[in-house]
Amino acid sequence: MPDSQPPFPLADLEAGREAVIVEFKAGRAVTSRLASLGLTPGVRVNMVQNYGRGPLIVTARGTRLALGRGEAAKILVERGNHA
């Protein structure tokens, strides 16, 4: 699978799909909290629940996390087989 697709917001990842975090667009305070819960660049996230509106649930590093849609929109991910 080629991963030529440009990075897109985590909020747009469909339920059941996986992606890898490439970048945070959020401020330092939010990024710091995301990191302490396991979300750092390069980590693989799995979208568990995403109904297109409202908050969503992801898993990363074996942890289930609830994120607001606004927060998820500021996390850029890409599909593909990173390590």
């Binding site: 945070f24 959020a26 330092r28 305070a29 939010v30 990024t31 710091s32 909290r33 995301l34 990191a35 302490s36 819960l37 396991g38 750092t40 660049p41 390069g42 980590v43 568990v48 629940q49 109904y51 509106r53 409202g54 908050p55 649930i57 590093r61 074996g62 942890t63 289930r64 996390l65 609830a66 994120l67 607001g68 606004g70 927060e71």
Partner: protein
């Protein structure tokens, strides 16, 4: 790769057991079983207070460490030690300043990768460390095999496998703790290194700041926190350094403001190496129980239905078990006791008899009969918290909270408010942004607390019989509507529609631990009984005295005069002076409304208060009284913590006046509407 930490010598530790009582700190991320371990060791022998100057709960307890006493301090549960919240600052300040003889870090074997993040931070603090590898049973269920001794070798600190909920591994933990305290076993961890690309910069910063770092802080740790952009440490160093030197450091930091992610990634790389070594069989891909339950519990529609159902069930339990039990206690204990006391006290002066019979037994006794109701509430909420449901409630409430410019996490303290508004106001600390927190504090008193529900549970059945449950539901709904409406309005007017970040862990569902729940219920019940024995007792005595003085006749007493003075206002809502007085005396504690009525009507062996009330007031008046009680100004304790948490009388008074106006308006409308409809 240069080793950044080779130069940092471990400091001498001389405080060890010589003071007699070793101090052991318990650290861990939330949901790792920290409280379970704490309760297991200290049992009922624990003290709950506050951290100095903060409203974060501080638990400590004594326990027997193989024949000698040790002090166990439960640090706040935090994901990291970066100053994102007061909890994180408390945890690290305690370790750095108080220098506990041992830090026990509770981690989950089923979630090593995430839970070792805190260990990575703890390792940088040079405290003797033991890792309690908890949740071994969950790991096994998920097909994971974790090798504690491999982890131990890789970490350089003792690792003790545990299943805290089954009390497995406690003895081993104590043995290891003892050996470390006696210096028989090494517990100095190897901290993670910063990624190579930031190693030089870190060394540079450390060299610049080292002469200025104030007392208990290790300069390597301060340098690391500066690089992470930690707000507290940045402020500390700015204040401790000459401006020019600080400028130089600040320039380096500015040039590397992305370093934070490098530090975090470095920690996860360190963790990755540990996990790869220690986990010999990875998780088998399976859809777990949590996944399946969340399809319902976290569903945008069914999740709300479930939440409403759960709340309904709690209230239903209250009415079918709690309320009859309460009524029975009143009939079978309070009334006969009052009769007995009246007979026994015929010799003493009349005022003393009145004080004992009407003030003490009638007032405090009536309040204490609510204990069964409160225990049901406390148990229900402790159970929901323990099984892991609370995070789901927050999640499904996120959309609704958006109406008020808040997010799901604000629902957690509000949920707590159903028990008592005081912890609700204090619990707003989980909210990350100040405007969101302030808004939550302002609307929290609109959550009907158990004390108010107790008043409702007492009065509603007397007037509405079988329909009492529906009336109660309506009152709860009315309060919540008032809450959403006030929240939306305040957000528009005062906060101009700001929003904060919603980031929350969804813990796995657990089989509830009866010990944890039991302890919580016990502690909260004791707190209530203490309140009844002090604040409520004092109030009941005062009310009785005011109803007796000056002439010994109720209808010409000070209390009657005060109530009659305010009666014109009370009339708008259909109250006579007694209901007006009851409402006023509910300020020190909401349950006082009942205690006051108990005193004013006088409890006798023939008729309980409920019958007397039903005979004295119309249904419209009762309904209006219930509405006002639900929305009335927050109790004294809530006002006090509001002042403490907001640090401002302006916000506190706003909260009081908002509710005063709201409750009186709602009461007047209810009364006249009810009269007009011929209720």
């Amino acid at each position: 790769m240069p080793d950044c930490h080779a130069a940092v010598a471990a400091p001498e530790r001389t405080r060890l057991a010589e003071a007699g009582t070793p101090v052991i700190a318990l650290a861990g991320q939330p949901n790792m079983g920290k409280s379970t371990v704490f309760n297991l060791l200290t049992g009922l022998n624990q003290h709950v207070g506050n951290w100095p100057g903060k409203t974060v709960e501080r638990r400590e307890g004594r326990f027997d460490l193989n024949g000698r006493q040790a002090l166990l301090v439960d640090l706040p549960g935090t994901y990291s030690l970066t100053a994102n919240s007061p909890e994180e600052v408390i945890a690290r300040e305690f370790i750095l300043r108080e220098k506990p003889d041992l830090v026990v870090a509770v981690v989950s074997a089923a979630n090593l990768e995430r839970s070792l993040y805190l260990v990575a931070e703890l390792a940088a603090l040079d405290a003797p460390l033991v890792v309690a590898l908890n949740m071994m049973d969950v790991a096994e269920q998920e097909g994971l095999r974790v090798e504690p001794h491999v982890l131990e070798a890789a970490l350089g600190v003792p690792v003790v496998p545990m299943v805290a909920s089954k009390a497995a591994g406690v003895r081993e933990l104590l043995t290891v703790a003892e050996r470390v305290l006696n210096g028989e076993q090494a517990a100095g961890p190897r901290p993670p290194e910063v990624r190579a690309d930031h190693c030089q910069i870190l060394a540079q910063i450390e060299a610049q700041i080292a002469p200025h770092v104030p007392a208990p802080y290790p300069s390597s740790w301060i340098a690391l926190k500066l690089l992470e952009g930690d707000a507290e440490v940045t402020r500390l160093m700015q204040a401790s350094m000459p401006p020019e030197t600080w400028e130089a450091v600040h320039d380096i930091l500015r040039a590397h403001d992305d370093a934070f992610l490098a530090v975090a990634s470095g920690r996860y790389e360190w963790i990755g190496r540990l996990v790869r070594a220690a986990v010999t069989r990875p998780r088998v891909g399976q859809i777990g129980l949590t996944e399946r339950l969340d399809r319902w519990a976290a569903h945008p529609f069914w999740g709300l239905v479930l939440l409403a159902g759960i709340l309904g069930l709690v209230f239903w339990l209250t009415f079918t078990i709690g309320a009859p039990l309460q009524a029975w206690l009143e009939q079978a204990a309070v009334a006969p006791l009052a009769g007995l006391a009246a007979e026994a006290l015929t010799e003493v002066p009349f005022w003393l008899q009145g004080l004992m019979v009407d003030g003490l037994i009638g007032g405090v006794g009536s309040v204490l009969t609510f204990l069964p109701i409160l225990v049901i509430f406390f148990a229900a909420f402790a159970l929901l918290e323990d099984v892991g449901y609370m995070a789901r409630a927050a999640y499904v409430m996120d959309n609704l909270m958006h109406l008020m410019g808040l997010h799901g996490k604000s629902f957690l303290p509000l949920f707590l408010g159903f028990g008592c508004n005081v912890p609700a106001v204090m619990g707003t600390r989980v909210i990350d942004s100040w405007p969101a927190r302030l808004l939550t504090i302002l609307i929290a008193p609109l959550v009907p607390c158990t004390a108010r529900m107790a008043v409702v549970a007492f009065i509603a059945p007397a007037f509405f019989g079988a329909n009492a449950l529906w009336v109660t539901w309506g009152l709860v709904l009315l309060s919540l509507l008032a809450l959403v409406a006030s929240g939306a309005l305040l957000n528009r007017v005062i906060f101009k529609g700001q929003r904060s970040a919603f980031i929350m862990e969804m813990p796995l569902y657990h089989i509830p631990n009866l010990r944890t729940i039991g302890l919580l219920v016990w502690q909260r019940s004791i707190a209530f009984v203490k309140k009844a024995g002090t604040a409520i007792l004092a109030m009941a005595m005062l009310v009785w005295a005011l109803s007796y003085l000056p002439g010994g006749d109720l209808n010409s007493s000070y209390l009657a005069r005060f109530g009659q003075f305010l009666e014109p206002v009370g009339r708008w809502m259909g109250f006579d002076w007694r209901l007006t007085v009851a409402l006023i005396t509910s300020f020190p504690a909401k349950e006082n409304a009942i205690a006051t009525l108990g005193v004013l009507f006088g409890v006798s062996p023939e008729a309980g208060l409920t019958e007397l009330l039903a005979a004295s007031y119309s249904t419209a008046t009762a309904l209006s009284f219930l509405v006002v009680t639900m929305l009335f100004i927050p109790c004294m304790a809530t006002v006090a913590v509001t002042r403490q948490e907001t640090g401002s009388w302006r916000w506190t008074l706003l909260s009081v006046f908002l509710l005063l106006a709201l409750s009186m308006a709602a009461g007047a409308v209810t009364y006249h509407l009810a009269v007009w409809m011929g209720v």
